[in-house]
């Protein structure tokens, strides 16, 4: 008999305290990472901290995925194999990768860790994902710029689990350059990388694109926060395996509360869809109550047409 569909609710964690809180509210898996190897980690975890977090998560039947999705340059390759060996030894549940070097590295060093494929903007069709599956991935995170129909079509045409982001900001631009520092130097001002910043698009003053720098360069995030709580039935009816919540640039309280809400909403729908319908407005209200004023809620590309 087929196992009943049970989606995995996955949230980012910035530190051990957040790991604990997320587990308390019922998250199924967390993603953490070290910024030398992972992109836009919400907090920098040393290898020791990753080990501690993994042991804790496993004791609490929670999975741990490690963000290892940077676009690697030669220098990182010198320490990456050892890092991966260590991750293998603590039995993390997967590494999130988007650089094809991972396949030659794990083959050369006989490393055995499940690979969750996340090339961000490049995971847009099922033929491509099936290609990467042949190379060894066991799962994939789809691009955020896909409509729900395209997501369903991909899910129906692959034999492995796929994940989508359901809440939080998404990255819309990554440069290796220091594009905030450069501007500050150009206008002869000093810049503190810890300073929260955003850009607005020309005359459209109500836009709000967060921008920040780290060791991987400059990142620009989406204008709105993705919020799919109203549309969970569409996603759950499509049997999507992983539902991801990104807590980047959000307070811990917000992130934990949101994760809890999605947990309740998923459980409500799977036990009784009519209950979900009754509670839906309440879920949304609770999100509005904590949503920062300058951050719109958005359904991203789930219902949007693109031209080209």
């Amino acid at each position: 008999m087929e196992r009943p569909y049970q989606p995995e609710l996955i949230a980012t964690a910035r530190d051990m305290k957040e790991v604990e809180k997320l587990i308390d509210v019922g998250v199924d898996a967390i993603t953490i990472g070290h910024q030398n190897y992972g992109l836009r980690v919400t907090g920098d975890f040393s290898l020791e901290e990753i080990k501690t977090a993994t042991v804790y998560c496993h004791q609490n039947e929670t999975k741990v995925y490690i963000l290892t999705n940077a676009i690697f340059h030669n220098d990182v390759l010198e320490t990456l194999p050892t890092y991966l060996k260590e991750l293998e030894s603590v039995k993390v549940d997967g590494i999130i990768c988007g650089d094809p070097s991972i396949f030659t590295i794990i083959a050369s060093y006989s490393i055995d860790i499940p690979i969750i494929w996340n090339p961000e903007t490049l995971a847009t069709n099922y033929v491509t994902l099936n290609y990467w599956h042949q190379k060894g991935i066991s799962r994939a995170i789809l691009s955020n710029e896909l409509a729900i129909d395209a997501i369903k079509e991909i899910n129906d045409n692959v034999s492995f689990p796929v994940d989508i982001q359901v809440h939080g900001m998404t990255c819309i631009f990554q440069s290796k350059r220091k594009l905030v520092t450069n501007y500050y130097r150009h206008i002869d001002k000093s810049y503190d990388q810890q300073q929260a910043m955003h850009i607005t698009q020309g005359k459209e003053e109500d836009t709000h694109y967060p921008i920040f720098e780290d060791v991987n360069g400059t990142h620009i995030m989406s204008d709105g926060d993705l919020c799919m709580i109203d549309h969970l039935p569409l996603i759950l009816d499509a049997n999507i395996h992983g539902l991801r919540i990104n807590g980047i640039l959000k307070s811990m309280d917000y992130h934990v509360e949101i994760t809890q809400l999605y947990k309740e909403a998923i459980d409500a729908y799977l036990s009784d869809p009519t209950q979900f319908e009754l509670k839906k407005a309440g879920f949304k209200q609770r999100i509005y109550a904590i949503q920062p004023e300058d951050r719109k809620l958005s359904t991203g590309f789930y219902f949007k047409e693109q031209i080209y």
């Binding site: 819309i172 631009f173 850009i199 989406s222 080209y308």
Partner: protein, 410 residues
């Protein structure tokens, strides 16, 4: 390091937005050109080639011993994959030498439908380390186009560690993001950059705010110059020996949307540099005329991007664009009569008696003169050649050939 004297000349690879540009690029010294077809390419606004154009382009290229590659470098969505196999089969039958692909779905389609059609991995795949290069070699790929973020040091290590053809950009406009990892255009205009719809949002003007507990402070309001992410254009014109010594196999010029004048000028310069270098690598010296020539086609300030150091604010475009003298392509030489020293010139931009013009042709042929007399098709003396594409006769100071060009400073 292998001795530079034993190295073969790298391929000079030029963009060709349409059939005419293909012919000029090859005539001016490109060893290969890359073009776009009607499908699967990233320049939906470039002229792009029908199958008939491709056949003519391939036939022309063959005469000169040049190669023709087709860029099919979109990041496909499910619905874009229809017809991919037929497309690659058709390209192979036309005699296209290679396709430039970024999305593995198109690699799969190409391998199935045209197993003998060579595949190059596009810069859109952001190949930035030698293990990724090795991955593609293991996949049977003969050539990869490197990410624009790699340094010469990194290329050197890739070349030493993996036996595969490397292609690197030497000139032209650049994404300031990792190519393929930018969806600004998708989010701001609903135009999918990775399928050819890029609205160049990185070059727009923005306001930059510091967020505080009391609200946000507009940092860019304090300056005359808006925030932007715009990059200067790449040019390795002054540093070619460094790249040539590395043994990079193909040196690529960006610009399928650029004019004939641009393509001919830029190809001409790099052809001259590569040939001069290989005549005697130990005594190569940069001729300032080559650099001057590059500036006649430049559209933005120029940078070496990531090749030596990480780019800074000096490699970006802020505020008003730099004043770069602009040149018009004023006429194409169709014929030259040695006895009368009169050239037949097809007008491409208005020119007239008294204008200071420069003629140039392949192999860095150049001379300047003032136009003294112009005749129209009926032999009538005229003051100005005002009509687009009109055929004129002009008395010239030095011999010319078909495909030579006449430019004039704006």
């Amino acid at each position: 390091m292998t001795d530079i004297h034993s190295k073969t000349k790298p391929e000079l690879l030029a963009p060709a937005g349409n059939l005419e540009k293909l012919k000029f690029a090859i005539h001016y010294g490109a060893d290969a050109v890359y073009i776009g077809g009607k499908q699967f390419g990233l320049r939906s606004k470039a002229g792009n080639f029908s199958y008939e154009d491709m056949e003519e382009g391939v036939a022309f290229a063959r005469k000169y011993g040049a190669k023709v590659y087709v860029a099919a470098n979109i990041i496909a969505h499910n619905e874009n994959l229809d017809g991919a196999k037929e497309y690659f089969k058709a390209l192979y039958e036309i005699g296209i030498d290679a396709v430039i692909v970024a999305d593995p779905a198109l690699i799969t389609a190409c391998k199935e439908a045209a197993p003998n059609l060579e595949i190059h991995i596009s810069t859109q795949a952001s190949i930035a380390n030698w293990r990724t290069v090795e991955f593609w070699k293991n996949e049977g790929i003969p050539r990869v186009v490197l990410a624009r973020e790699v340094s010469l040091e990194e290329i050197k290590e890739m070349k030493e560690k993996v036996d595969i053809e490397l292609e690197a950009f030497i000139h032209g406009a650049m994404c300031i993001s990792y190519s393929g990892r930018c969806v600004l255009s998708n989010h701001m205009t609903a135009r999918d950059a990775n399928r050819g719809g890029c609205a160049q949002s990185c070059r727009w003007k923005y306001d930059l705010f510091e967020d505080g507990t009391e609200g946000s402070e507009n940092i860019s309001a304090e300056s005359d110059e808006s925030y932007t992410m715009s990059s200067q254009d790449l040019s390795m014109v002054e540093h070619m020996p460094d790249l040539l010594a590395l043994g990079v196999d193909s040196l690529k010029i960006e610009g399928r949307m650029k004019s004939i004048h641009y393509v001919a000028t830029v190809v001409n310069v790099y052809r001259k540099i590569i040939d001069t270098y290989f005549e005697d690598p130990d005594h190569f010296e940069l001729n300032p005329e080559w650099v001057d020539e590059i500036w006649k086609a430049a559209q933005r300030s120029l940078t070496t991007a990531f090749y030596y150091n990480e780019p800074t604010e000096k490699d970006q475009l802020f505020g008003k664009p730099a004043r770069i003298p602009k040149y018009d392509f004023s006429g194409l030489v169709l014929e030259y009569d040695e006895t009368t020293q009169i050239a037949t010139i097809q007008q491409r931009n208005s020119f007239g008696v008294g204008d200071e013009v420069e003629f140039f042709g392949p192999n860095f042929y150049h001379f300047k003169q003032t136009i003294e007399e112009i005749w129209d098709e009926n032999g009538e003396s005229i003051d100005r050649a005002k009509h687009a594409m009109m055929i004129t006769k002009v008395k010239v100071d030095q011999p010319l050939k078909y495909y030579d060009m006449m430019r004039k400073r704006k």
